[in-house]
Symmetry: C2
Subunit: 226 residues, 2 copies
């Protein structure tokens, strides 16, 4: 029986990809209304390229977009983009419908709960605080804090050590095959994938190598496993 359950944050406890995409679309449409001379799709495509190049934690994507389009930064357009991005983001930042009830269930079964997340420490904590779910977790570790990203074993090993728990008694819940599932398994833990479309190669790998990875379609399926 497991003693500790570790969760990824983004796209595991909340629908990060959907809210980020919607917030970016709204922000760009408002920038277009305010004078950005692009179509909505063209603006979105250009923004995605900038995010791909600079990473999602860089905070000046809109600055670069206006500079690319106009040859100089346009403060009004940047401000319009940022205000609308944040307004929509905060409005949509909610847990999945069954996140809280699942956390309550798992906690009530006596498990210790942790978070292992790739991202910036305060930004990831802010998500937990905004969702109101931070009191569920006994340990929260981010890649920024430890200096290693999932799937590197060190981030899993440090989490287990802080929790005082052995890997074979622990399970990692996440949405990314390599970062969450393979990373956890390589650190000696079990893994459960949620909100993840496995490729046929990944499915074959799990089956051929008999990897300790389960796949669930809803977070509350955890209640039957744990």
């Amino acid at each position: 029986m497991f003693k500790s359950v570790f969760f990824d944050i983004d796209d595991t406890l909340l629908n990060t990809s959907v809210f980020a995409k919607t917030a970016r679309r709204v922000a760009l449409n408002m920038m277009i209304d305010a004078g950005l001379p692009l179509t909505s799709d063209d603006a979105y495509h250009q923004l995605r390229e900038i995010i791909k190049e600079k990473g999602s934690n860089y905070d000046k994507h809109f600055n670069i977009l206006t500079k690319n389009v106009f040859g100089e930064e346009k403060p009004l357009l940047i401000a319009v983009g940022m205000v609308n991005y944040h307004n929509v983001k905060f409005a949509l930042l909610q847990p999945f419908p069954d996140t809280v009830s699942t956390l309550i269930h798992v906690k009530s079964k006596g498990y210790k709960l942790g978070v292992i997340s790739n991202g910036l420490t305060i930004k990831q904590w802010e998500k937990l605080v905004r969702l109101g779910i931070h009191p569920f977790f006994d340990q929260v570790l981010t890649s920024e804090e430890i200096g290693y990203e999932k799937p590197h074993p060190k981030i899993f090993e440090e989490s287990l050590s802080r929790m005082g728990c052995k890997p074979e008694k622990s399970v990692m819940i996440g949405n990314k095959f390599e970062a969450d599932a393979l990373g956890a398994v390589n650190a000696g833990m079990s893994a459960i994938l949620f909100n993840c479309d496995l490729t046929s190669e990944e499915k074959k790998m799990i089956s051929d190598e008999k990897l300790d990875i389960e796949v669930i379609s809803q977070l509350k399926d955890l209640e039957d496993i744990l």
Copy 2:
């Protein structure tokens, strides 16, 4: 008759000091609830000292506060502080009750409107966008953009030049005697002070030196002057 009217932003178009103070108080009380071992007044006093030292545009005041108290940064407390500070700030970020009607009146009289503000460019634009008043202004200039802060004459001269307007045909509206009023007058403009408690020395200086500075008690008093 004036042709151009320039406005300061903070504590002139909106009640910045009040919302910032309230937001900080709420944030600190939530941090105390989450484990910060200080009284509300003690926390507020310590935060003010940090803001005084680092400036209000530094974005890691709460990091320093937790480090001062615990000897290390506490991500949960920092996140609790930031989330609550921003929630309250955005809820309270509103123009004064007569800001919009006054801007409409001044605009309808045919004046060109500008902003001259000490602060970070995108942050100041964000306030105008959040208040929904950015379309009133023909020119917005920040100290970050020009590299000089009010009361330095260069920030006034650059604003006048961009507006294509002579100083003697222009008036500056602000809440700070030295930065807004003296700065504008030294650049050859008129000045109107609002939301400002003048010291007796400042009153005497205006009277003795016959400075072109008027004082109004409500923003809408501008309608009688302009």
